[in-house]
């Protein structure tokens, strides 16, 4: 398919965007930064022949903070170079198990707001994805808002991704976690793993095993092992299933080890003390 055969709608308001979506439904594909959709067009694999360009919808661009949550509109994700085009909404809509913004959203108990003409619903993040590139979004719905829980002061958090190179590499394994420690005991652990299953997953068994336990090397080993066992990885051009399983263990182990040692500022592993 060449670019010229695609019709692009560029609504100037959310209402207009939802109207178009209601009319065009399966024929149209919402596009924000286009970092994924444009590649699909180039490769000739995008089935829709129309695009709904969300770049000029003012209602989709904000961050709001309340007492218990932060609302992020879909066009707000800031990072340099090509990634500064990408959006959280786009990352969710694309639904790649390797999408890097997704594991942190699991850890933050995010909810995704889906809006259509005359209604809206909020879907918890772990109910949003159905599989690789599949979500619960109906064709007339638009992702308009993502709500995340605020982390308690003192919460440790981490995000670590492994790719074959340091930049612009699709994750082979990624992990995000948050952990609250009280006098050396884990009050709670949340752990999400990316690129190791058809969707991002929460490592529930690992989280349960950590609850109310002292954070020791033995516990870390157990958590990391349970996390690794929770994966259902595949072998592809980027890495083998076995490696993904082993590396999941390593990523989780190292992140928790640094937290245990109070080395939260270790930039190499993306661990910083929460505030």
């Amino acid at each position: 398919m060449s670019y010229e055969s695609i019709i692009v709608y560029s609504p100037r308001s959310l209402a207009e965007a939802l109207d178009i979506l209601a009319q065009r439904r399966e024929q149209i594909r919402p596009i924000a930064g286009g970092t994924d959709v444009m590649v699909m067009i180039k490769d000739g694999v995008l089935k829709e022949k129309e695009l709904l360009n969300l770049s000029y919808v003012p209602e989709l661009s904000y961050i709001k903070e309340s007492d218990s949550s932060i609302l992020i509109a879909v066009r707000q994700i800031g990072s340099p170079q090509i990634q500064n085009l990408g959006t959280i909404g786009g990352n969710l809509g694309t639904a790649s198990p390797a999408g890097d913004s997704i594991p942190p959203l699991y850890v933050l108990n995010a909810t995704v707001k889906l809006q259509k003409v005359g209604g809206s619903r909020e879907v918890p993040i772990d109910k949003f994805f159905l599989g690789p590139r599949k979500t619960v979004r109906e064709p007339d719905e638009l992702i308009t808002e993502i709500k995340i829980e605020k982390m308690e002061p003192g919460t440790y958090y981490f995000f670590q991704k492994l790719g074959l190179r340091s930049a612009n590499a699709i994750s082979i394994v990624s992990a995000a976690g948050s952990l609250l420690l009280q006098e050396g005991t884990v009050k709670y652990l949340r752990l999400a793993l990316g690129a190791v299953a058809p969707t991002v997953i929460r490592a529930k068994d690992a989280e349960d095993a950590a609850k109310d336990q002292p954070l020791t090397e033995q516990l870390i080993d157990r958590i990391a092992r349970l996390a690794s066992e929770a994966t259902r990885p595949i072998t592809d051009i980027r890495g083998t299933a076995e490696y993904r399983r082993k590396a999941t263990y390593g990523v989780v182990y190292e992140a928790l080890y640094y937290i245990m040692k109070g080395m939260g500022k270790k930039v190499e592993y993306g661990v910083e003390s929460g505030s």
Binding site: S2, E4, R165, A167, I237, G250, Y253, Y257
Partner: protein, 747 residues
């Protein structure tokens, strides 16, 4: 750090890191690369490629495609006027497939249309009927007795044995004998500018082909052979090209462009997409090398036995000579009194292998240098001492009966390497660190093959000296380096020099940019042209001064006699006013041994570059992450014309070698479809992955070279695989025998 102190420059042109003369245009974005060129009224060209990796072509139907509105030509093998073949060494690669297809993506038809849409529509309407044949994906499969034959003559493109002494006897007396098998992957060049260009017939009837390339005169000949017209009716211009690394040394788009322009009589534009480049562009030969090497207790090498297998892909491009370089470098820079090299170039259905920076040397280097490091382990010797014990010294006779002209630079580099050879401290509790070393050798130019580069200079009365040569500046900086050489010779500022290069309309045939030869060969030819110019201008000066030429002196662009002087531009004006030319052309005969060693095509070389690379790595065994921390690269490239450019060449080579060692592995699925054809899946390192690279040059002077220079382009990449894998071995206590070293190989 680079040595910047002047070795020989008397006129401030040499040994100086002047900015590249094309850098302003590049920084401003005003430089038009060949694929940026848009011609008025040009047709868009597309290539119809095989979706079968190996098969017999029964039928090609183009009628439907021809009917598409706006389509001006659909060409198949039937439309080729003369030879349906090209290839730098043997012209066996079909321009358009006719009886068989031998790799996925092999071109079958060409389309030229008024619009992109019409062209793509036509492509979708071409029908081919191909009976698939079993696909051969590896050297082992190709050599199997029952393997289907890719070519009528079988799956061995070239086999040769090169030997000396008695390896059995030597091995019997050895203290240690190691036998190991080493493997290296196919590597893609991944130049930023994919293959592409334009072609048109000008008002004089000349067919102009302007395309990214490396060797314009050979391209011109290859086009002429296919069209069956005289090369005089063809002009090839190759510059500026956005990266090549050997991947544009043989023909890519040039013949297709020429055919389409010739048939349609219209300007034509053809640029491969990134994915097309990934599928149909060239790549480095993969290798499998079995070594059995014997040494005495004191580390003296006694014998080296090698079975070398290179995967040439579906056809031979530079394969035969790549095999030669792998043979030449399998003994390293060492005194090897007995050797037996059994070398094979093998056909598979893995695309097209061809030249890639190092040209067979990185493949062999990984084997022999890994072997040297393991021998050092076995002998409990320092690996650098083991090398110092075995390197050939200046004046000695090398393994291929060549006299070593200079190796004192290598000795100095090894001694310097000792100072930086230590294991660094790990930076995390999960990390292990290691240090590794490897030594590289690579000949400059084409060995014993005849090479007669011609270059020219023109002294322009308006105050410029034009220099003309056909080597391509594809980013390596040859234009600047050659301008510096000429400036030094004529004792004038570089700013007075204008470069005309890689265009058969203006540049004499200096050959192409390959084999690290451009400084040495074009430089020497240019200096010879300068000699001619100075000699002619001296006569003119003598006539002007009304004295004898022997009483005239030359300095800084001026001829002097007593208290009078005249500069070269005024002299040029005087010559022109009498109808005489101020264009001076000279041919340089590249020194070579008269005959190749038995069993080879071009071994040995006369002039060699050397490099010693010390790598430090950190490995997280839990994550399987290898991070290069620091690289020290000490090189002997002869006198250094431009230290910044030369260091840049080595840094680029090292980073490209890090990709080869750690992340890059071009691969095919079971049906012979290439899997990683763009930057998303073919992982080249970025600046973020690059360690600190310290480049140092030992000070040497090669008398045969232009102002003592040798060459630099390839030496950086050659030792990287062995050096990095030695550092990995030091860190984890397990030696890698295969590149790249991937996380899942060791955790």
């Amino acid at each position: 750090m680079t040595s910047t102190e002047s070795v020989v420059s008397r006129y401030e042109s040499l040994n100086r890191s002047i900015p590249r003369i094309d850098s302003e245009d590049k920084v401003r974005g005003t430089l038009l690369y060949v694929t940026d060129i848009r011609l008025e009224n040009a047709l868009y060209a597309f290539t119809f490629r095989s979706k079968v990796a190996h098969g017999k072509i029964n039928r090609i139907e183009t009628e439907d495609a021809e009917k598409v509105n706006g389509v001006k030509a659909v060409l198949t093998y039937k439309d080729i006027p003369s030879l349906n073949g090209y290839g730098a060494i043997v012209p066996e690669i079909p321009v358009l497939a006719y009886d068989k297809v031998r790799y996925y993506g092999e071109p079958i038809a060409l389309v030229a249309a008024e619009s992109v849409e019409a062209g793509l529509e036509a492509l979708s309407r071409i029908k081919v009927d191909i009976t698939p044949l079993p696909v051969i994906r590896s050297i082992e499969e190709a050599l199997d007795d029952n393997a289907p034959k890719i070519h009528e003559k079988g799956n061995i493109a070239r086999h040769t044995i090169v030997k000396k002494g008695n390896v059995d006897k030597a091995r019997a007396s050895a203290y240690v004998v190691l036998e190991r098998t080493y493997e290296t992957p196919m590597q893609k060049h991944m130049y930023l500018e994919p293959e592409g260009g334009v072609a048109y017939i000008d008002e004089n009837g000349t067919l102009n082909v302007i395309a990214g390339g490396q060797t314009p005169y050979r391209d011109k000949l290859q086009i002429a052979r296919v069209l069956g017209i005289s090369p005089d009716k063809i002009r090839v211009k190759n510059s500026p090209t956005g990266g090549a690394f050997g991947g544009k040394d043989d023909v890519t788009v040039q013949i297709h462009l020429a055919l389409l322009a010739y048939k349609t009589k219209r300007p034509v534009r053809l640029t491969w997409s990134r994915e097309e480049s990934g599928i149909a562009g060239f790549h480095r030969t993969s290798s499998k090398i079995k070594l059995r090497t014997a040494a005495a207790k004191d580390g003296t090498l006694l014998s080296n036995e090698a079975a070398i297998y290179l995967d040439s892909g579906a056809y031979q491009s530079f394969g035969p000579t790549i095999l030669d370089v792998s043979i030449e470098t399998i003994n390293g820079p060492y005194r090897v009194p007995n050797y037996y090299i059994d070398a094979y170039l093998v056909y598979t259905n893995n695309g097209l292998a061809s030249a890639f920076r190092g040209f067979g040397a990185p493949e062999s280097n990984f084997a022999i240098e890994s072997m040297m490091n393991e021998l050092a382990d076995e002998l409990k010797m320092d690996p650098i001492d083991l090398r110092l014990k075995n390197i050939l010294r200046t004046g000695e006779t090398g393994p291929f009966n060549n006299i070593i002209r200079h190796s004192e630079g290598l000795e100095e580099a090894l001694k310097r390497a000792k100072e930086v050879f230590y294991r660094p401290d790990p930076s995390t509790p999960f990390a292990r660190t290691g240090v590794g070393v490897a030594v590289a050798i690579k000949g400059v130019g084409f060995g014993t093959l005849p090479d007669f580069p011609t270059a020219a200079i023109e002294v322009v009365p308006e105050g410029k000296v034009r220099i003309m040569f056909s080597n391509v500046d594809y980013g390596q900086g040859i234009n600047t380096g050659n301008a510096q050489l000429v400036a030094e010779k004529l004792q004038i500022p570089v700013s007075q020099i204008e470069v005309y290069h890689s265009d058969t309309k203006y540049s004499p045939d200096t050959g192409g940019s390959s084999a690290s030869r451009s400084t040495f060969n074009a430089g020497n030819a240019l200096l010879a042209a300068c000699e001619k110019a100075l000699s002619e201008l001296r006569l003119e000066a003598a006539s002007y001064f009304m004295t004898s030429s022997s009483s005239v002196t030359y300095r800084g662009g001026n001829f002097y006699y007593k208290d009078r002087s005249i500069n070269i531009y005024e002299l040029a004006k005087r010559l022109r006013s009498r109808g005489k030319s101020t264009f001076f052309e000279a041919t340089y005969e590249v020194p070579r041994y008269p005959e190749p060693v038995e069993g080879t095509l071009e071994v040995p070389h006369m002039v060699y570059m050397y490099g010693v690379m010390v790598s430090k790595v950190e490995i997280d065994e839990m994550l399987g992450k290898i991070r290069p921390l620091e690289v020290d690269f000490i090189a002997d490239i002869g006198n250094v014309i431009n230290p910044a450019i030369a260091a840049g060449q080595i840094e680029g080579g090292v980073i490209q070698g890090l990709g080869y060692s750690l992340t890059e592995y071009y691969s095919y699925d079971k049906d012979g479809r290439p899997l990683n054809i763009n930057y998303t899946t073919y992982i080249v390192p970025t600046a973020k992955d690059s360690p600190m690279i310290n480049v140092e040059f030992v000070r040497t002077y090669e008398e045969l070279g232009p102002f003592g220079a040798k060459g630099v382009g390839e030496i950086g990449i050659i030792p990287v695989g062995a050096s990095i894998s030695d550092a990995v071995a030091d860190a984890i206590g397990k030696r890698p025998y295969r590149l790249p070293i991937l996380p899942w190989d060791f955790i």
